[in-house]
C-alpha cells in the first residue's frame, strides 16, 4: 500500500476512462448551467448526451478486454493475484467483462433516460443543470459499484448512487407525491444500508479482509461457517435487495415509482435496479466462477468443498424463497393496479423475481442468462416507460382510465407499447421470450443435472420453474389489462394530439429492437459470454 506512485495512479486511471468522461461532463454541466438563464437550462441535456455517448464509445472500443475473475484450483494463492481481470488503485477497483457489460447497460440506460427527460413535459419549469448533474453522478456511482473489488468502494458507491436518486425522486418539489416518495425512499434506503453494513461486519470478521474476491473465496473454503455465510449473504442481499426491490424489501417501490418524475421512474426501474443486481453479482461472482469452472480431477476435492459450501449454507434455498416471493407478490399485487406507473413498478418487482431464479443455480449458464435478461429487460422496460411518458405528455395523467381508446387515436403508439408488453410477458416473437427461455432453461437444466427425475433436486428446481411459468400466465392478465383499456374501449371525445415524429421514431426503434433481438439473439449472447472466447 505504501509504495503507490503517481505514475501507477495515472496508469490505473486508464481502467476508468468512461467514468472519468462522465465525471468530467458532470463538472462541465455544473459550470455551464451557472451561466444559463433558467429557461435555457434544458440545453445542458445535450452536453449530458454527448458525454454519455462518448463514454459509451470508449467502453465499446475496449469491451471485454479483461477477462473475468476465475479461481485457479491448482494454485489458489497466485490465482488471486494474477488471474484475468485488471485490478487498479490497490485492488480497490477491478475491470473485467462483468463490469464492462454492466457499465454498458448503465450508460445506455442513462442515455435513454436523458432523452426521456428532454421529451417529458413533467419536468418543464424546473432547472435542468442539477438534474443532469445528479443523473450523471448516479451512473458514475453505479459504474464504480460494479467495478468495486473492495467492500469499502462498494458501500461508498452505493451510498453515492442512493443520495443522487433520493434527490432525483423528489425533483418535482412542488408536487406532493414526489416529495413524499423522496422521503420514503430515504427512510427505507438508510435502513437497508445499515443492514448491509451489519452483514459486511460479519464477513470482515470471518475473512479478515474487505477485498471482495479474496474474502468470498476465503469464507467459502471454510466449511464450518456455513450458517454464518448464509446470515452474511442474507444481510448483504437484504441491503442490496432494497435496490432491486425484492420482496420483502420492496415496500418503497410502488410509491416511489408513482411519485417520481416518469424519466426517473424509468431510471429506477431499469438502471438503478440493474445496478443493485450488478452489486449482488459482483459479491457472488467468486461462487459462480468456482462452481462453473471445468477442473482437473486432482483438485476436485477443493471444488467439492466449495460446491458443498453453497449447498450446506442453503444459498439456493435462500434465493429460491426470495425469487418465488418476489415474483408472486409482484404479480399478484400488480393485478389490482389502476395507475400505470404503479403497475409497472409491481411488474418490475416481478421481473426481479424472475432474475433471482438465476441465483439458485451456480454455473456459467445461469450467470449469462441473468446478464442476457438485464439486456432485454432494459429494452422492453425503457420502451414501455417511454410510451408512458408520451401518454402523460398527451393526457397529463398516469391513470389507466385516462388512456381509454388511445389505440384508435394513435395506433402506432399502441403497437409499440403492445410489443413491449408482449415482451414483458415473455411471449414470442419478442426479446423477452428469449430472456425468459434462457432463465427457464437454466433452472430446468439444473433440475435435470443429476440425471434422475423425482429426486429432491429435481423437485426443488422444477417447482421453481413451474411457479415462474404460472406467474408468467398471471402477468399476462395485467399487461393485457393495459392493452384492453386502450383497445377495447371507445376513445374519449377529447382530442389526442398526434405523437411528435421524433418520439414516434424513437419508439419504433425500441419495438424493432425487441423483435430483432428475438430473431437473432446470438450477438447478444456473445456479448454476455463471460467465460471462454
Amino acid at each position: 500500500m505504501t509504495d503507490v506512485t503517481i505514475g501507477q495512479i495515472i496508469d490505473d486511471c486508464r481502467l476508468i476512462i468512461p467514468e472519468l468522461i462522465v465525471l468530467g461532463t458532470l463538472c462541465a454541466i455544473i459550470i455551464w448551467d451557472m451561466f444559463l438563464p433558467k429557461e435555457k437550462s434544458p440545453r445542458t441535456g445535450w452536453l449530458a448526451l454527448a458525454g454519455l455517448a462518448a463514454a459509451l464509445g470508449v467502453l465499446a472500443s475496449r469491451f471485454g478486454e479483461h477477462s473475468i475473475f476465475r479461481f485457479d484450483f491448482a494454485d489458489p494463492a497466485s490465482s488471486l493475484a494474477t488471474a484475468g481481470p485488471a485490478y487498479g488503485f490497490s485492488r480497490m477497483l477491478v475491470s473485467d467483462k462483468l463490469s464492462d457489460f454492466f457499465k454498458f447497460v448503465f450508460l445506455f440506460g442513462t442515455l435513454m433516460v436523458v432523452i426521456f427527460s428532454m421529451r417529458s413535459s413533467e419536468l418543464r419549469g424546473y432547472r435542468f443543470g442539477e438534474y443532469y448533474t445528479l443523473l450523471l453522478g448516479s451512473v458514475a456511482a453505479g459504474s464504480f459499484l460494479v467495478s468495486s473489488n473492495n467492500f469499502i468502494t462498494l458501500v461508498v458507491s452505493l451510498e453515492t448512487l442512493s443520495l443522487c436518486s433520493y434527490v432525483l425522486v423528489g425533483y418535482m418539489k412542488h408536487d406532493r407525491l414526489s416529495a413524499e416518495a423522496s422521503l420514503k425512499y430515504i427512510l427505507y434506503g438508510s435502513v437497508a444500508s445499515g443492514v448491509m453494513l451489519f452483514g459486511l461486519s460479519y464477513l470482515y470478521g470471518m475473512a479478515g479482509t474487505l477485498d471482495i474476491s479474496r474474502s468470498m473465496v476465503a469464507v467459502s473454503l471454510n466449511e464450518d461457517n456455513a450458517l454464518t455465510v448464509l446470515m452474511t449473504v442474507l444481510l448483504i442481499v437484504g441491503g442490496l435487495g432494497f435496490k432491486i426491490a425484492a420482496v420483502p424489501f420492496h415496500f418503497w417501490a410502488p410509491d416511489v415509482y408513482q411519485g417520481a418524475p416518469t424519466p426517473i421512474t424509468a431510471f429506477l426501474a431499469v438502471v438503478s435496479k440493474t445496478m443493485g443486481f450488478s452489486a449482488i453479482l459482483r459479491v457472488m461472482l467468486p461462487l459462480f466462477a468456482v462452481a462453473g469452472a471445468a477442473v482437473p480431477d486432482d483438485i476436485l476435492a477443493v471444488r467439492g468443498a466449495l460446491v458443498g459450501m453453497i449447498e450446506t449454507s442453503r444459498l439456493p434455498v435462500l434465493f429460491w424463497v426470495l425469487s418465488v416471493a418476489t415474483m408472486t407478490v409482484g404479480n399478484l399485487v400488480a393485478l389490482r393496479q389502476t395507475n400505470i406507473k404503479r403497475l409497472l413498478a409491481y411488474s418490475s418487482i416481478a421481473h426481479a423475481g424472475y432474475i433471482l431464479m438465476g441465483l439458485t443455480v451456480y454455473n456459467n449458464a445461469s450467470l449469462e442468462a441473468m446478464l442476457f435478461y438485464f439486456f432485454v429487460y432494459a429494452f422492453m422496460n425503457l420502451g414501455a416507460f417511454f410510451v408512458v411518458i408520451v401518454l402523460i405528455n398527451q393526457t397529463g395523467s398516469s391513470e389507466l382510465e385516462a388512456y381509454r381508446g388511445v389505440a384508435w387515436k394513435n395506433p402506432w403508439l399502441f403497437i409499440c407499447l403492445f410489443i413491449c408488453l408482449i415482451s414483458l410477458t415473455g411471449l414470442p416473437p419478442t426479446a423477452g421470450f428469449v430472456g425468459k427461455l434462457k432463465l427457464f432453461s437454466v433452472v430446468t437444466g439444473a433440475a435435470l443435472a443429476d440425471g434422475g427425475v423425482a429426486t429432491p433436486t429435481f423437485w426443488f428446481y422444477i417447482s421453481l420453474v413451474i411457479i415462474a411459468a404460472l406467474n408468467t400466465a398471471i402477468s399476462l392478465y395485467y399487461y393485457m389489462k393495459i392493452a384492453k383499456v386502450m383497445v377495447f374501449s371507445d376513445p374519449e371525445e377529447a382530442a389526442h394530439p398526434a405523437v411528435p415524429a421524433v418520439d414516434g421514431i424513437h419508439l419504433l426503434a425500441y419495438a424493432l429492437s425487441i423483435l430483432i433481438i428475438f430473431l437473432q439473439f446470438s450477438p447478444v449472447e456473445s456479448m454476455v459470454r463471460l467465460f471462454g472466447p
Binding site: S441, A447, G452, V453, I466, S522
Partner: protein
C-alpha cells in the same frame, strides 16, 4: 425431395402475414374500405398457392413432400424447419378454405375498424399454418403462441357483450398450457442432448429417434406437459370451460376459425409430437384419455341439449365432437386414427358451417336465442335448406362428411374398448337430438314474430361461402378415399408405434378397392431420410 417446394412452403406461410400488412395500410374509403377486398384477394391467393401442394401430397403422403430447413440460431441447434405431409397439407388447405369463408362471413358484419379486423385474422392464419408445418419444436412453439395474440384481439375488440371476460379466460387458460409445454420442450431438449451425437436439437425428426431411450418417468412428465397443453386447446374435458365463453362472444369469423382449425392444432400436436415422441407413455395412459374422451362426448352432448343460445349449443357440440377425435386417436387402431384425422377435417367443415349459419341469423336479428326464432323456413328458404344440410353433416348422416369419420372411430375403438365405443355411440344419438332440436326451434314451427317475418334470405355472397363448405361435406361423405389416403401413412405409423404390426390399409376397407399403392414404404425411414440430407 428435400428442400423440394421449399419456396412455396415459405410463401404459403408468409402470404397471409404480407397480406395483413397490405390490409392495415388499406385506404379507408367506405365503411369497410378496401380492407375486406384486399383480405379476400389475399386469402384466395394463399388458398390457390396451397393447392400447389396437392400433387406432392398425393404422390407420397408419407414423406415430407415439401420440406425446408435453414439454420436459425446455431448455438441452440435451432433450425427453421417446415415440412408438409399428407396430414398437415390437408389441415393447411382446410385453414385456407375456412379463412376465405370467414372473410366472406364478415363482409358486412364487420364495418367498424375493418382493417384491424382483417389484419388480425390474417396474422392468425399465418400462426395456424406455421403450427401445422413446423417440424422444429422451437419454431412450433413460436407459431403456437403467435395464434394467441390475434385471436385475443379478434374476440376482445369485435366480440359481443361479455367479450372481455371470455378473452381473458381463453388467454389465461391457453397461456398456462403453453408455458407448461415450453417447460416440457426444454426438459426434452436437455435430456436428449447427451443421446444425440450431432448436438442438442429441437428437430422433431431427430428427437423421435432418441426419445424412447429416456427413462420412463422422464417420458411421462414430458408427455403430460405436452398433453395438458394440447388438451386445453382441443379442449378435452375437464379443460373445456373456456370454449363456450370464447365461442359465444367471438365474432362469426372468429368462431369459424376457432372451431374449424384452432381446436385441431391441439389434436395435431398430439399426433405429430406428443404420441410419436412418447408412444409407450401414450399407450400406458390411453385408458385415461379414452375415459376423458367419453366423458367429453356425453357431457358436451347433454349440455348442448339444454342450451338456449345457439352459439353456446354449437360450442358444446364441439366439445362432444372433439371427444370423438380424441377417442379415435387413443384407441391406437389404424382405422380409428384415420377416422380421427378425417373427423378433424369434417368437424372443421361442419362446425365452421354451423357457426356461419348462426352468424347469418345473428347479423340479421342481433340475437342468438332459440326462443327468438321459429318458422324461418317459410321466408328464408335457401337458408333453411343449406342449414339443414350442414346440420345433418354434423349429426353424421351417411352420405355426408360427419358419418365417415365417426364410423371409422367407433369401428376402431370397438375392437379395443367396446364399452367406451358403446357409450360414445350414445353421443351420436344425442347429437341428432340437440342439433335437430335447434333446427326445429329455429327453422320450423310457426313464423309468429314480426321481426322474423321481415328477414331477408341469403344473397349470393353468403350462399357461396356455405356452398363451398357443403361441396366438401358431400365429397368427403360420398368419396372419402382421397382424404383417407392422405392421412393413412400417419395413422399407420402411429398405430405401429404403439402396437407394432397392427393395421391394414383403411381406404381399402372403406372403398373396397384393391390397393396397389406403391407408397407403403416405412414412414419412419422416409422421415429419417429427409432429416439426413
Amino acid at each position: 425431395m428435400v428442400e423440394n417446394n421449399s419456396n412455396l412452403l415459405l410463401l404459403v406461410t408468409l402470404a397471409p402475414l404480407a397480406t395483413s400488412l397490405v390490409v392495415i395500410f388499406a385506404p379507408r374509403v367506405t365503411q369497410a374500405g378496401f380492407a375486406r377486398v384486399y383480405a379476400l384477394v389475399g386469402s384466395i391467393v394463399t388458398l390457390l398457392l396451397s393447392l400447389g401442394f396437392i400433387s406432392g401430397m398425393r404422390a407420397d403422403p408419407a414423406a415430407y413432400s415439401s420440406f425446408m430447413s435453414v439454420p436459425w440460431i446455431e448455438d441452440w441447434g435451432i433450425r427453421f424447419t417446415l415440412g408438409l405431409d399428407g396430414l398437415s397439407g390437408m389441415l393447411v388447405l382446410l385453414t385456407n378454405l375456412l379463412i376465405v369463408v370467414s372473410i366472406l362471413a364478415s363482409w358486412t358484419a364487420i364495418t367498424d375498424r375493418a382493417r384491424e379486423f382483417y389484419a388480425c385474422l390474417l396474422v392468425l392464419q399465418t400462426g395456424i399454418i406455421g403450427t401445422f408445418l413446423a417440424l422444429d419444436l422451437f419454431v412450433f412453439y413460436i407459431f403456437w403462441e403467435l395464434m394467441l395474440i390475434p385471436l385475443y384481439l379478434l374476440i376482445g375488440i369485435f366480440g359481443s357483450s361479455n367479450r372481455i371476460y371470455a378473452t381473458m379466460k381463453f388467454f389465461l387458460y391457453t397461456m398456462a398450457g403453453s408455458l407448461l409445454m415450453l417447460l416440457g420442450i426444454l426438459t426434452l431438449y436437455f435430456k436428449t442432448a447427451p443421446l444425440l451425437d450431432d448436438g442438442a436439437t429441437f428437430s422433431i425428426i431427430r428427437l423421435v429417434q432418441v426419445s424412447s431411450q429416456l427413462p420412463i418417468e422422464t417420458q411421462t412428465i414430458i408427455f403430460f406437459a405436452f398433453a395438458i397443453a394440447f388438451s386445453i386447446k382441443i379442449p378435452l374435458f375437464p379443460f373445456h370451460t373456456w370454449l363456450p365463453d370464447a365461442h359465444t362472444e367471438a365474432p362469426t369469423a372468429g368462431s369459424i376459425v376457432l372451431a374449424g382449425v384452432l381446436l385441431k392444432t391441439g389434436v395435431y400436436g398430439l399426433i405429430r409430437f406428443a404420441i410419436p415422441l412418447f408412444p409407450a407413455v401414450a399407450e400406458a395412459y390411453a385408458p385415461l384419455f379414452l375415459a376423458l374422451a367419453v366423458t367429453a362426448i356425453i357431457y358436451g352432448a347433454l349440455t348442448a341439449l339444454v342450451q338456449e343460445d345457439m352459439k353456446r349449443l354449437v360450442a358444446y357440440s364441439s366439445v362432444s365432437h372433439m371427444g370423438f377425435i380424441v377417442l379415435g386417436l387413443f384407441s391406437f387402431r389404424e382405422e380409428a386414427i384415420s377416422g380421427a384425422a378425417l373427423q378433424m377435417l369434417s368437424h372443421g367443415i361442419s362446425t365452421g358451417g354451423l357457426f356461419y349459419c348462426v352468424g347469418l341469423l345473428y347479423e340479421r336479428r342481433h340475437t342468438r336465442l332459440l326462443s327468438e326464432f321459429g318458422g324461418l323456413a317459410y321466408n328464408m328458404k335457401i337458408y333453411a335448406v343449406l342449414t339443414v344440410i350442414i346440420v345433418l353433416s354434423s349429426v353424421g348422416l351417411p352420405g355426408l362428411n360427419g358419418f365417415v369419420g365417426e364410423f371409422l372411430i367407433l369401428l376402431g375403438t370397438f375392437q379395443v374398448a367396446p364399452v367406451a365405443a358403446a357409450i360414445a355411440t350414445l353421443g351420436v344419438i344425442l347429437a341428432a337430438v340437440y342439433l335437430l332440436r335447434m333446427t326445429q326451434l329455429a327453422l320450423f314451427g310457426k313464423l309468429d314474430r314480426e321481426e322474423n317475418k321481415a328477414l331477408t334470405d341469403l344473397n349470393a355472397r353468403e350462399i357461396s361461402g356455405l356452398a363451398a363448405l357443403i361441396f366438401f361435406a358431400l365429397w368427403i361423405g360420398l368419396y372419402p378415399r382421397p382424404f383417407l389416403k392422405l392421412v393413412e401413412p400417419t395413422s399407420r405409423s402411429l398405430a405401429e408405434l404403439v402396437e407394432p404390426g397392427a393395421g391394414e390399409l383403411v381406404s381399402d376397407r372403406v372403398a373396397s378397392i384393391p390397393a396397389n399403392s406403391p407408397s407403403q414404404s416405412d414412414n419412419r425411414g422416409q422421415i429419417d431420410g429427409a432429416a439426413g440430407r
